[in-house]
């Protein structure tokens, strides 16, 4: 026998939305959501943030080095909805088919930034990755940064909420201007 906690994917262990946020019919009883503090939620991200710049690069280069670019993380993602993905585009081909750290880095960073503010943290990308790339860390880092810049949002949980990067407000932070 395997303990339930061991058999559960990591994404389920720290899920605080066990009940569908929208349903016409709910089968079964509602489950009491776990209380997950922001500290717990972003613990791994905070740890990575504490790394020195070079150590961060080394950490990500090591895991990106084993990415085989099967694109399962992209194809399973409910937020990925481009009719033609930049990584499939042939004319022009923006990213080479060669699999190496620089190309893999571009893929992962582009993917993560493209779902910024829309990632519902379902964690499917990480669950199905055959090479165990900690993709949720990238997603969470962006969610954390967005929260700090625009106020905490949990995409996909409020029907009438506009995604932070999908609207403009005059008081949006504009550090670069």
């Amino acid at each position: 026998m395997v303990a339930k906690a061991e058999a559960m994917p990591a994404k389920c262990r720290d899920c605080d939305y066990p009940n569908p946020v929208l349903s016409d019919v709910l089968i079964g009883e509602e489950v009491q959501p776990r209380q997950i503090t922001p500290q717990d939620r972003y613990a791994e991200v905070v740890e990575l943030e504490s790394y020195k710049r070079e150590a961060k690069k080394d950490y990500w280069d090591k895991v990106f080095d084993r990415c085989i670019r099967c694109y399962a993380c992209r194809n399973v993602c409910p937020a990925c909805d481009c009719k033609e993905c930049v990584f499939d585009q042939v004319e022009p081909r923006w990213v080479s088919k060669a699999v190496n750290v620089p190309e893999n880095r571009i893929f992962h960073i582009t993917r993560a930034l493209h779902v910024a503010g829309r990632c519902v943290e379902c964690g499917e990308c990480e669950r199905i990755c055959p090479m165990h790339i900690p993709i949720r860390k990238l997603n969470k880092k962006i969610a954390k940064d967005l929260g700090e810049l625009f106020g905490e949002q949990r995409p996909g949980t409020q029907l009438d909420e506009k995604p932070a990067l999908g609207v403009f407000a005059v008081n949006d932070p504009e550090e670069f201007m």
């Binding site: 085989i68 194809n75 042939v90 088919k97 699999v99």
Partner: protein, 346 residues
């Protein structure tokens, strides 16, 4: 066949010894992912594993490989071919399914076209097999005539036993590698040879999953068109997991980097990708999932046997384990055998 035995402790010593003359590639941990990688010391070799996430093919047919480098200057074009391997290699710990897959890749790369880069790696690599004592629930190598406990494709074949391993010496190339540390090996007694063959027989019995591919090619010859393909393809995500972790998939693309100096490289490609069959003019003869999913299974079960008289599946079960939507080749084989394609066509 000549046999030797080696203790667990001495196995490490032998592996360390051969690293003086060979590059040693063995199953090792990359974080928690088991992969075949070059290791500098036997301490990094993982002996207790089911199978690697990626098959051994990457070491003969790398995911990305330079074919040649070029440099243009003053109207002159200099082309420098990729050099052969600097040192011979020992590829340790390959399971019988993956060993078989290498012989299937040989049909492709060692056939009418002689692929120099593949053949160089193949000729200079000693294949050391390691028998499976406990197949996984997704293993079905037996369905393709492969035994989990032996393989004729290896140069040396190791079977784990109490306290050590029995070694079958299956080629001169293998024996030469063994002789680099001959003193670490001893002659087995009759009991040890018997124990190893019992373990191999038990491993075969432990295979839970099986499917009978006999006649599948002949059936598929008639069903390029069948509504069956429409039925099974919608759930496919058309990612490339199945093709990239498959030990027999071998389709590749060739590209050049641009500029005055650069390289021509080849890299794995996948029939699951939208641009795989995209023509220069933009036409795509496999525009939807249906055509792509059908292609993958027809390549394994019809076209490959047409060309080489063998199925291009070794039952390693990686696609069963990793496919995000559980596309199951054993189910497809059963469906074909059960007349589903025929019935769907009615």
């Amino acid at each position: 066949m000549e046999h030797k035995v080696i203790s667990r402790e001495n196995l490490g010593k032998w592996l360390d010894t051969i690293t003086r003359e060979y590059d040693l590639i063995a199953p090792t941990l990359d974080d928690d992912v088991v992969l075949f990688k070059e290791v500098k010391s036997a301490a990094r070799v993982l002996l207790d594993y089911n199978n690697t996430v990626l098959p051994a093919k990457d070491h003969f047919f790398p995911q990305t490989e330079t074919v040649f480098r070029f440099k243009a200057s003053a109207g002159q074009l200099a082309i420098e071919p990729e050099p052969p391997l600097a040192r011979p290699r020992v590829l340790f710990g390959v399971r019988p399914c993956d060993l078989k897959s290498i012989t299937l890749l040989d049909h492709v790369f060692d056939g009418d076209f002689q692929d120099g880069q593949y053949l160089d790696k193949r000729a200079r690599t000693v294949l050391v097999g390691l028998g499976c004592n406990s197949p996984q629930p997704t293993c079905f190598c037996g369905s393709f005539g492969i035994e989990p406990g032996s393989s004729p494709a290896a140069d040396l074949f190791f079977t784990e036993m109490e306290g050590g391993y029995l070694v079958n010496i299956q080629s001169e190339k293998g024996k030469e590698a063994l002789q680099k540390g001959w003193s670490f090996f001893a002659d087995p007694d009759a009991g040890q040879v018997k124990e190893a063959s019992e373990r191999a027989a038990n491993a075969k019995k432990a295979l839970k999953l099986s499917v009978d591919p006999k006649g599948v090619k002949e059936e598929l010859d008639h069903f390029f068109e069948s509504p069956y393909w429409d039925e099974i393809s919608p759930k496919c995500l058309t990612c490339g997991i199945c093709t990239y972790i498959c030990p027999t998939c071998h389709c590749f693309d060739i590209n050049d980097t641009s500029g005055q100096a650069g390289e021509r490289f080849r890299c794995w490609d996948s029939c699951m990708f939208t641009d795989f069959t995209r023509m220069a003019g933009g036409h795509n003869p496999r525009p939807t999932k249906k055509e792509r999913v059908r292609q993958r299974f027809l390549h394994k079960l019809r076209y490959f046997p047409d060309r080489y008289k063998e199925y291009a599946c070794v039952g390693c079960g990686r696609c069963l384990q990793k496919c995000p939507v559980h596309m199951d080749i054993t189910q497809i084989i059963s469906d074909v055998k059960g007349g589903k394609l025929q019935n769907a066509a009615k």
